[in-house]
Symmetry: none
Subunit: 214 residues, 4 copies
DNA sequence: TATGAATGAGTTTTCATTCAT
DNA sequence: AATGAATGAAAACTCATTCAT
């Protein structure tokens, strides 16, 4: 039947199109993460992907879209990791630990993606992203924190968290402690002192533990 | 007297030269902050300063020097504030508080400079800074932390800090908590929730307090 | 067959690429000759070649490469002509004549190239050539003289050249006489007097002839 | 008397004006000869002369006029030297020798001026000199040769020069030999061979001697 | 689809020249 | 007379994007 054939063909074409997009994104990710947004040229991406510069515009509207997609990827991976950690059963502190270490896994496993996410608030507008995309990333950013928020809410209900503070304040406070540790590590000051990120974060979690339970 | 006149003239000219330099630096700071290092063109700075691009080279050797001066300024202001806070007498916790709030003052009073300092560690080579400039900033960055380190060392000596951890680990941990709070605030999530930076930081310091003294 | 077609296409594209390069070099040669190295802008070359300035960087790495290629061409043509003349059999004087007239052929046939070669030694570093390029030209320059040197050496061995001078001194002396005549002609003083370059050079060769054989 | 005073004042002012012009020309000469026409900026000249760039335009119409004056200087010095040598009494060969060595003196004593004169035909139009100035330099250039021409004419009259050639041809031929030797030396090929310019030129003159007298 | 040549606007920087002081 | 700040046009070069093939 002609219709079936056409459909199969269309499917294959769509699949090939996706393959191409992926190929370009893979190349772009490598280059963007190595050279930054402004330091990356379309030609460099094309070279890395082993195809012609012109073709990239067949699959993407331009540099910005590609960069946007990569940002999305970064958030999605981050969210996936946190989501899995969020499924952990146990006390509040166990759940906090799970989330913290999941974030460390992201930081360790996808350092360039971590940079992109951190960059977000410094670099986005600078980078000329569309309002639209920026909105999406904002949303994804909110999702990241939501996992911790849920844990905190439940910890307060169960009385594990003694404080009378707002659960948002506590959530963001905890998040800040975790991110703070990662930033400190990122700057590379710990290494020459023989302190590992794990050492630092363990200490921070211990302080939080005694701080929260008083 | 001719000599006096000439001197007065020279003084005025020098003053005007400084004014111009300041005018350019002011414009440059705004643009760098809005667009990032690579995203900022000399033309844009000139436009912002309302003078011709060529003139900028009359006052500075180039983009790098301008950016360098701004970075230096940022660090020096930061260091000055911390240094003053560092002179506070009292218990370790009082000194920690003084330093934390001094950093908040910097964050609040010089938001653009704060960004530049943070940027330093995110932007890296991607941002295209000179090795030389990066080295200088690294050094100034080390100075910032040294004030807290000193307080921690003395707090450990006096027994105010109970822990057996390395004083570096503690110092960086505390710094991370403070910076983490600022980053959280910076992202703008607190505002719609009606939480102030001060609220958040007070909570963090309280947690630390009970955490450290156990 | 697709393969054949693709090959043919590739060949044509390569040919077109070469054509473009040639087109640019032709334009560049004209402009360089008219305005000198520093006086020539990429824009001017592009204008002469009737294409956009940016495109030139698609075919060449920059002004230096273009100038380098043109210099190389000049020397290679010069060397080719001298080499052919150098194959002449006969007495030393016959060989000297062959080389001298070959140089005149070069001067007449490729006046622009002659200028570039002469320029080399006048323009020097003032002209802003790369060390690398200057070295290459130096080498090629040495090759030019080597043909005459060989003839002189053989002329001294066979006793045709009576003098006891160093063969280098004689070679350079002869070369100087030939070039001197060309420079005189170049300045355009001969024309209004109704003297041709050929007249002048013939006279010079005659003087040399009687001078050498004494 | 007011008139006298005014005159004296005017004289002094004129003298001071000349002094300034000289000061600027001295500075300009140093810079032009070191860096070439296009490589020299008015600022560089002003710096060398230790006065402000703007002032230069008070004494000269622009860069071109300054360069033109320096070219004139070059020719005048050259002509002076040749003129003096031209006063030599003696045989034609003695007079030829005197002129040749005077030219060598110029080449040795004012190497940068020599460059400017040689450059003339390669570089002038390229350099954007006025028609007017170019004409003047052309004239001065003619004067240079005229000294040799006079000697040749007299040498032919007296029978010292045997040839039946046109005296212009002979004059230019001789001039070409001398200049040819200087160019060869200029290129720096002689030095590594241990041959001096004097050696080369002596050889050339000897060849001419026997060539002319046959 | 895919290529890669082509363009035009952009980048940093330099500099002759003018002009208010 | 003298200064030096200011300008505008130029330089070399880069690059996102388009387009004929």
């Amino acid at each position: 039947m002609g219709a079936e054939l056409r459909e199969a063909l269309a499917r294959r074409q769509e699949a090939e199109r996706q393959e191409r997009r992926t190929r370009i994104l893979d190349a772009a990710r490598r280059v963007f993460l190595a050279k930054g947004y402004l330091g990356t040229s379309i030609r460099a991406i094309a070279l890395e992907a082993e195809l012609s510069p012109g073709l990239i515009y067949f699959y993407f509207t331009g540099k910005d879209e590609i960069y946007g997609r990569i940002c999305e990827e970064a958030f999605h991976i981050n969210i996936d990791l946190l989501e899995k950690a969020s499924a952990t059963q146990g006390s509040f502190l166990e759940r906090l630990n799970a989330l913290a270490w999941a974030y460390v896994d992201f930081y360790r496993g996808y350092p360039e993606y971590f940079d992109i996410i951190s960059f977000k608030d410094m670099g986005f507008k600078k980078v000329g992203l569309t309002e639209e995309l920026h909105g999406l990333l904002e949303e994804l950013s909110q999702q990241s924190i939501s996992f911790l928020k849920r844990a905190v809410d439940e910890g307060m209900e169960s009385g594990e968290i003694a404080g009378t503070e707002d659960s948002w304040t506590i959530s963001y406070g905890l998040w800040g402690v975790i991110e703070g540790a990662l930033y400190i590590h990122k700057r590379g000051y710990l290494e020459p002192l023989g302190i590992s990120l794990e050492d630092l974060l363990k200490q921070q979690l211990r302080i939080i533990e005694s701080g929260l339970s008083r």
